[in-house]
């Protein structure tokens, strides 16, 4: 009998994680992919290249969370957060704490550590999508484990956006986003079709959704 099986026999609850509920992503296809939404008290990684729909997905998640009355934090590694996009995604800007780290990945990690350790936030987004790969590789597993432990303890859903997976065993869910094609309508960028693949699931699953451009807002500019 293997070690894990022995542990299960000795302490049945040892490997079971307490289910603290889920945060709906606001996108039905993604809710289905993630079995009802992003689990609270866990670390989730969203990865993908430029224009793969990571930010659209995260802002949809942010909008859904703030509409449910949650306090959210957006730790912005590169200072690329667009308030107008968040507003268009239905987010209540009064319930979002924006921490602009202006490209300093180390500050972003310290900020997310402070916020997750403090508790009280339903969703904490760590946006490292524009962070240099060499900076991300320097983040130790101990740091990721500390963040995962803080999320477990405080019940916050901690979501990290990157270009590739880095937290590995510390993240309970990894979603890889792939761009499919932009949707053009005449002179307008109408939206973008995205494919999301859930990794680290008992079986790999995929979902597709289309992020639509907020045309009314664009035409005003």
């Amino acid at each position: 009998m293997g070690t894990v099986a022995q542990l299960r026999e000795i302490a049945p609850g040892f490997l079971k994680r307490e289910d603290k509920g889920r945060l709906s992503t606001g996108i039905p296809a993604m809710d289905q992919l993630t079995s009802g939404g992003i689990a609270r008290g866990t670390l989730t990684e969203i990865c993908g290249p430029v224009s793969s729909g990571r930010t659209s997905f995260l802002l949809a998640l942010l909008g859904a969370a703030t509409r449910q009355g949650e306090c959210c934090a957006w730790i912005d590694g590169a200072g690329s957060f667009d308030p107008q996009s968040a507003f268009d995604a239905g987010a209540d800007l009064d319930r979002i704490l924006w921490v602009n780290c202006s490209g300093n990945t180390e500050h972003a990690l310290k900020a997310v550590d402070l916020l997750t350790q403090g508790g009280g936030f339903g969703l904490v987004v760590l946006d490292l999508a524009d962070a240099p790969e060499r900076d991300l590789r320097r983040i130790s597993m101990a740091s990721w484990f500390r963040l995962r432990h803080a999320a477990e303890r405080t019940g916050a859903a901690l979501v990290v956006a990157e270009t590739a997976i880095h937290a590995r065993s510390c993240s309970s869910l990894q979603i890889e986003m792939k761009r499919k094609r932009p949707v053009w309508t005449g002179k307008l960028l109408h939206g973008m079709e995205t494919e999301a693949e859930s990794r680290k699931h008992y079986r790999s699953q995929t979902a597709e959704f289309t992020a639509l451009a907020c045309l009314a807002c664009k035409e005003v500019g």
């Binding site: 224009s51 268009d88 002179k187």
Partner: protein, 415 residues
């Protein structure tokens, strides 16, 4: 029970001692205070132990008296040295030997008592009340009741002005934050203790540091919610001072707190969790110290068409309410701040190739231009053409061409 402290020339010490035991203090004269000590038995034990605690606290040689009414305590403290504890009902016996001049009678009454040969409280108390009333009138009746230890008046507590300030002058200039923190901690503890004694909190702490051969250094900590946490205030002041240190060694520290009513909230059982405001404020202070003062907070969209216009506000989320779900996924922009300068090659007046720090190479699709302009009446006008482009590697970007400077920039990527 009431306690009286009498020590010539030490009124500040007497008041400080009295404030430690009671908020209801009456200042009798420049050497005497009397205060209410009812209900302190559970904290200090019987009156004798309470008197010992006062003796230790006052720090100077003082007459201390505890009695059932303020007048008996005052007369005992004026007339007897050391500690006097008068049990309820025993006032007449305890005060009997005191000289009658302690009653502070008017000149005429004092002369009559002198002529009658009345020297002590006890002798005056034994006179027939009807005879005293007939010969000395209303004043005589009142004085005889006092001589019997039968004072029935209410305490007239002094009203502290609602100024919560503490200051400390230093013996030598302090130029390091750590020793200064000890001083600030003491000042904050005292201010918070005084606020707490009045069931108040504060939402603004002002610190004024007098410096050696330099202008005064002021630090202000504003809080979105009233708090009464000296440790939290100290941490916020430390973060402020380490971010903006004084220009010269500190000679004097003066701390003031704005008194406000404390926050009282009743959370609902089904309301989403939110950070504790007190803890959140400290966390935000730490984040500001880490990233910069204008980099942390809630963002608000400004009513203008100028691209990337927003304002930073204090983050105060309040109680969350569920507004339901909905709203389809929206295509979002990731902004480059500042926008990246680009070199763009045009073909048939459309971007065909781009060279910039974030995207290089051929452009597969370019849609535009979307012209916008504004603020031409101000010093910072904007006038530009926007393009949405798809690079050959698949990335979607927003470019804009500044019409006045004829320069191209990458504003952000769609993601």
């Amino acid at each position: 029970m009431y306690a009286c402290l009498h020590a010539p020339g030490n009124l500040p010490l007497l008041l400080e001692c009295a404030r430690f035991f009671s908020p209801h203090i009456e200042e009798i004269d420049e050497d005497t205070v009397v205060f209410d000590v009812r209900g302190l038995a559970s904290l200090f034990g019987p009156p004798e132990q309470l008197a010992e605690a006062m003796e230790r606290r006052v720090g100077v040689a003082a007459n201390i008296a505890i009695a059932a009414n303020p007048d008996a305590a005052i007369h005992a403290a004026h007339g007897r040295r050391g500690v006097t504890v008068i049990a309820p009902g025993r006032e007449e016996d305890a005060l009997a030997r005191l000289p009658v001049n302690l009653l502070c009678a008017s000149a005429g009454t004092a002369e009559l008592l002198e002529l009658w040969g009345i020297r002590t409280f006890g002798e005056f108390a034994k006179l027939p009340p009807l005879g005293v009333a007939a010969r000395l009138g209303e004043e005589g009746v009142r004085l005889q009741r006092l001589a019997r230890g039968d004072g029935g008046r209410q305490l007239r507590p002094i009203e502290d002005p609602l100024q919560f300030e503490e200051a400390m002058e230093l013996e030598y200039p302090v130029d390091l934050l750590e020793p200064l923190s000890f001083i600030l901690s003491r000042l904050l503890n005292e201010v918070c203790r005084r606020l707490g004694a009045r069931s108040l909190a504060t939402n603004e702490i002002r610190l004024l540091l007098t410096l050696e051969k330099a202008p005064e250094h002021a630090v202000m900590v504003r809080l979105p919610v009233p708090m009464l946490d000296p440790a939290g205030f100290l941490k916020m002041l430390q973060l402020e001072l380490s971010g903006h240190p004084p220009a010269a060694p500190v000679l004097k520290a003066k701390l003031a707190a704005e008194p406000v009513k404390p926050r009282r909230t009743q959370q609902g059982l089904f309301v989403a969790m939110s950070p504790e405001p007190e803890k959140l404020e400290l966390t935000i202070s730490r984040l500001r110290h880490l990233t910069g003062p204008d980099k942390v907070g809630a963002v608000a969209i400004v009513d203008t068409h100028r691209p990337d216009s927003f304002a930073m506000r204090a983050f105060a989320p309040g109680v969350g309410t569920c507004q339901g779900v909905g709203a389809p996924a929206r295509l979002s922009l990731r902004r480059y701040r500042p926008a990246k300068y680009a070199q763009v090659v045009l073909e048939r007046e459309r971007p065909a190739r781009i060279s910039s720090p974030v995207v290089n190479g051929a452009i597969a699709v370019a849609k535009g231009p979307w012209r916008s302009s504004g603020d031409w009446w101000s010093a910072e006008p904007w006038n530009r053409d926007e393009w949405d482009v798809e690079a050959t590697h698949g990335g979607l970007y927003r470019l804009y061409h500044e019409l006045d400077s004829r320069r191209w920039f990458v504003e952000g990527s769609y993601d």
